[in-house]
Subunit: 369 residues, 2 copies
């Protein structure tokens, strides 16, 4: 029986395992945190990413390795790759961990992005703002997620406090794109080179954290879908990618700009569990195992609402007809992703009604947009 080793044992690893047991797979996880919730669903090695003995023992116990978390040191993935296949390739991890490398790749592939300049010193920042202007966003090149490590610059007075807050590490200044909406494309590429793309997803963030995804995105077919698929296809190809890749996009005047990518299953793809013929989790596993990819067509229209910081009463949520509850088995903490709810309806009007019912139980002002 094939044992899939997963680096990281958070909710994404948990959902990978839930999708993978029906394929006859077994799972082993590696995480620094003994309470990581995927540990409920498979063996959990608790060790640091620099613990060579633990990494080597993990490699011996599994048939291949994948990851559910992109801030794993590339050296750990490369060490494992000497013993067992590691997908997506560590190169993808390396690029995705650094906003400069990521945006440089997009630029090289002729994929539109916000203008960007690297910033290492306070003087660099001055020059960068002179080149790009304000509003713009100063970001750490690495370790940023869910809106962490970012400062918006609106005027000259903002430079000092922003640099004081996040300077001293490699930074990047990005021009602020006055986008109409945020979209994402979730794509899969198999070891055999087969690719598949789910319909475009529209995403609503608050405080840098994804709150709501709607899929397929309204008016997200035709030319827009083709543009997104071309962006994903070029990126998959350039990285010789294997697995599921998510690319966050800004839509601005009919054009898609790539914001960032995640070399893993992605929060904006959770709707695929019930809302698509094959989920992102199942296709990620099919891809890394070299199995044929499953169909990615949407079944109706879906909304995914994240449960952040606190979990509403499950009985209340389950009382909403058609609400699919996904709890991650994590203790509550402010700002933490604890679960999500997916609604699948035949059309947008029915979806709006169902979302309104969820909004009575979940603190979700963006639902009323």
């Amino acid at each position: 029986m094939t044992v899939v080793g997963v680096l990281g044992a958070g909710q994404l690893g948990r959902m990978l395992a839930l999708a993978g047991y029906p394929l006859g797979l077994r799972f082993a996880f590696f995480d620094e945190n003994a309470e990581a919730p995927a540990g409920q669903l498979g063996d959990l090695t608790v060790a640091g990413w620099d613990d060579h003995a633990a990494l080597d023992a993990f490699a011996d116990a599994v048939d291949l390795v994948t990851y559910e978390f992109e801030n794993i040191p590339v050296a750990a993935a490369e060490r494992l790759a000497k013993h067992v296949p590691v997908f997506p390739p560590p190169k993808a991890l390396d690029v995705a961990q650094d906003r400069l490398k990521e945006k440089t790749l997009f630029r090289r592939l002729d994929i539109g992005t916000a203008p960007f300049v690297t910033v290492d010193t306070r003087d660099d920042l001055e020059r960068a703002v002179a080149a790009i202007g304000v509003p713009s966003v100063l970001k750490t090149r690495t370790q940023g997620y869910d809106g962490k490590g970012q400062r918006v610059l609106r005027r000259g007075d903002d430079l000092d406090p922003a640099f004081a807050a996040i300077g001293g590490r490699p930074l990047i200044l990005e021009g602020f794109v006055p986008f109409e909406r945020e979209l994402s494309i979730i794509a899969a590429r198999s070891r055999t080179g087969e690719t598949a793309y789910w319909p475009l997803v529209e995403n609503v963030h608050r405080d840098g954290i994804l709150r709501l995804s709607i899929a397929p995105a309204a008016a997200g077919n035709g030319a827009l879908a083709d543009q997104a698929a071309a962006i994903a296809a070029k990126t998959l190809e350039a990285l010789d990618y294997v697995g599921v890749l998510a690319i966050e996009l800004f839509q601005h005047e009919g054009r898609l700009l790539a914001n960032e990518m995640a070399p893993r299953v992605h929060n904006s793809g959770h709707w695929t569990i019930e809302g698509a013929k094959t989920s992102q989790f199942e296709n990620h596993l099919r891809a890394v195992l070299g199995f044929p990819l499953g169909a990615t067509d949407a079944i109706g229209v879906s909304a995914m609402v994240n449960l952040i910081g606190e979990t509403p009463d499950p009985a209340g949520l389950l009382g909403i007809e058609g609400a699919h509850l996904h709890l991650y088995g994590k203790p509550a903490r402010p700002g933490r992703k604890l679960g999500h709810v997916t609604l699948v309806e035949p059309g947008r009007a029915a979806l709006e009604s169902a979302l309104a019912r969820v909004a009575t139980l979940v603190d979700e002002p963006t639902l009323s947009r």
Copy 2:
């Protein structure tokens, strides 16, 4: 976090856990077999059903108990019920374990069955055949499943070998019903008394083992569905039942006769994972926890094909568009249920085409009926 204790750790327990983790539940299993496949998905206590210390420790470690296997000694369930809630009630287990008690209950509830007579001795058998005639079926009252412990009597010469084969235990002789088809109804009743019924399922057996289920059954709406729901409703009520209950039915001249019941999730309900708004596994858990039940509507038309004795190449099955593979993580053995494949299509013509593709990979002559 609620820990659900499950008696039995076979594939049904495994699929309960896969449905239950997203509800934020944790699972502990109790089984005599250390290799039981649900053990991959939760704590597994390996002990005999008469091991009081192990049962008591199990009761201490869980918040409530359910079962995935109906041949658990009632005494074990009753012992557990002194410590923790046990659903379905042990009374249902007691009735379902004995074909005589089961059919007597159906008769008392004015639910049609094949004619039946209890048989303890060879003389009883003579009298029973005189009363019921041939063809008829001699069955052990207890421990029968998947066609085991049954002999068909077609003429007087069959009595001696049949009694020699399965006599010496309490038996029942049942009249042979020349049914047009076999159906089943899967029903759920919550701790709150709420009930739900999935659409009627049509089942095809071979050698006493379920091979294929189609749901909703063709021409299975209207009066037929009402008849089935009434049968299920009376049974749920009579047993003060909590959880999912399956009743196997024969359709004969427009009338439904109850054949047997299973006080648990059922093989003929596996299609609900992808083919219904809420699966039998999720609703079983909602029912035993007292959560609202989920909608049981079908999504399109589904077929579930059992994988018996050997597992076809997963890559081949996954190459069939729309095929959902479910492997149980069990070693192959002749006659053993190793997994199933579910197909969900918008209509019956598309379903027939998809089934034909599955039939090229799975030894399944009954698909061509």
